[in-house]
Symmetry: C2
Subunit: 330 residues, 2 copies
DNA sequence: CTGAAAGCGCTTACAG
DNA sequence: CTGAAAGCGCTTACAG
């Protein structure tokens, strides 16, 4: 009676009076094995609570089915939705996500040790990665998939929505409604999602002979959005505020209405980006750009499968069209 | 030049001109190994991008450091905060969370196959588990930790806040403020968190010679809270609404104010449970019971470590005191 | 259809 | 301090 030991194929073999090989075959649907024998083994296994150790199997060249997911900060509410959905999709596909959270600052420190596992892939949401992670993944033969940004030049699979197209469409819409004095609340410095979104606005303003009045830095959070909006709206004369994401837009909306007593949308438009669940809540009714979650998931799963099927295929970069959702803040 | 192969200890040994054993020792801080040699091996490993395969190591009786986390539905916003925080804490402790998401209905289907990995533990948030998962975990020697509910009678480590104490305190507070006509918006049927919270209210009402006017079922979501509040407030004369969690309380608050034109808090009190981030946003300012996240994490991590250190220790059940946070809806 | 054997990448007594 | 060898739990040619 040994303690603290996992039930093993040998245990099942002994209990059922067959060879270890037979046990292994019983769990491989296509292996040659007498029907009765398979039944006996499976019953014995069930009784003993045996299930093949996936890790030992992965040593035989099988896939581990382990996929690391670097999730990014969860107070960016879109990240939370994204991660929840990705986890569910991965589960459904028989892949097991090792989630790596925490702030961007420590992401590297957290990812590196996770590479000790024989990962089928590493999916990175949004943030950037140090050169070391890139190199280590290459050396360890761990495919990388980026979601939320396109890595230009690099041979890496990427999925992102077309950020600048989205904000350009939003800006044109606001211009058509008569807005002229634009402000922008940005995301964290260095994130291409934020700079691309800004670029879209600049482009639409240029077309109309306009230019951006002011920009305030923010960190993609609700609280950050409040602060940024307060500073922007008290310093400048602005009638259209585009925010780099929804979390900050909700904060901006709250500050504008309840602290600065601005009338949204009558004397100020506020537009977000992502279309998180809260955006459609009646107390916000936020006009925003939908960053399509299901379509993004479809692409991630497709890219993952394609990469596993053919590690040598050329990298693919998928751009998804965002969609302007007009509600009651534009 | 082989492709699609992970760098291996043998590769490093060959490159550095040492034995495989030496490579292994170089990565074990306390192993006997000549200083110069260790340095050489580590440098070579770095160059090659080698890092020991954690799974192969786990076959030697080492821990896998893999911990499965059954997270529960993410549209219960507290679950999302909980999971994000737990992931970060686990990462920081050198444990790697395999996250299992999805709705409660499919949780079993999703957990079972995850048991193929040599898990150090399985942490279950909130929901209940089928007998089969219990048995399989026992047979596979995977310790179970429950967060968010106490399993009475079972020999399982559990952490939960004291649900009935929390709602009883809230109800007494509302009674002291003059409320007499109480309604309750519940969580999903069968979840003890919800029934315990109801029991706390009943208890406080009894003390005051009062009884509950009505109860509406809900699923712990914002949308569900809206619907439940609408049905409750249009059918009954109620001046105090206690919701089984914050997500549903936010929905209830929104419906009460914007659809039913009720004046909260002047003619109706609304109280939630959990104290999620949104509860303190100025547009809600929700009075609620804080379900202390950091303290809960501390206990989970402590219980996990203690269980790993001594698999035979008696199960521990930790009850955490919730805290009434009065804001502007009571 | 089946079992004995080799091998996956590692660690750890064992014998120097 | 060090290398050769055994063994962790599995799968898969190999030879019946």
């Amino acid at each position: 009676m040994q303690r603290n030991r996992r039930v093993t194929a040998t245990d099942v073999a002994e209990a059922a009076g067959v060879s270890r090989s037979a046990v292994s075959r019983a769990f491989a649907p296509n292996a040659y094995l007498d029907g009765e024998k398979r039944k006996l083994i499976l019953t014995t296994a069930l009784k003993l609570g045996y299930r093949p150790n996936a890790l030992a199997a992965s040593l035989q060249g099988k896939r581990s089915n382990l996929v690391a997911v670097a999730a990014g900060g969860m107070n960016n509410l879109y990240n939370a939705e994204f991660t929840a959905k990705l986890v569910a999709r991965l589960n459904a596909a028989g892949k097991w996500p090792i989630v790596i959270g925490g702030s961007e600052a420590v992401l590297d420190d957290a990812i590196l040790p996770a590479l000790s596992y024989p990962l089928d892939a590493l999916i990175v949401r949004g943030s950037s990665l140090s050169a070391q992670v890139f190199e280590d993944c290459a050396k360890l033969n761990i495919p990388l998939i980026f979601a939320g940004r396109i890595l230009k030049g690099a041979q890496v699979d990427c999925v992102s929505c077309h950020n600048s197209n989205g904000t350009a469409a939003a800006a044109r819409h606001l211009i058509a409604r008569g807005r002229r004095k634009f402000g922008f609340i940005s995301g964290p410095a260095g994130l291409s999602s934020s700079s691309d979104r800004l670029e879209g606005i600049r482009c639409a303003l240029r077309e109309a002979g306009l230019s951006l009045i002011a920009e305030a830095p923010c960190n993609y959070t609700y609280e950050g959005g409040r602060d940024a909006a307060t500073s922007l709206l008290t310093q400048y004369d602005i009638d259209a505020l585009i925010c780099a994401n929804d979390a900050s837009a909700l904060g901006a909306l709250s500050a504008a209405r309840y602290e600065l007593d601005r009338d949204v949308p009558n004397d100020l438009s506020i537009v977000g980006f992502d279309d998180i669940a809260q955006a459609s809540w009646p107390e916000y009714n936020l006009t925003t750009l939908r960053n399509p979650l299901d379509q993004t998931m479809d692409e991630i799963l497709r890219l993952l499968q394609a990469r596993l099927d053919d590690p040598d295929r050329p990298a693919e970069q998928v751009l998804i069209a965002p969609q302007l959702i007009t509600r009651k803040t534009d």
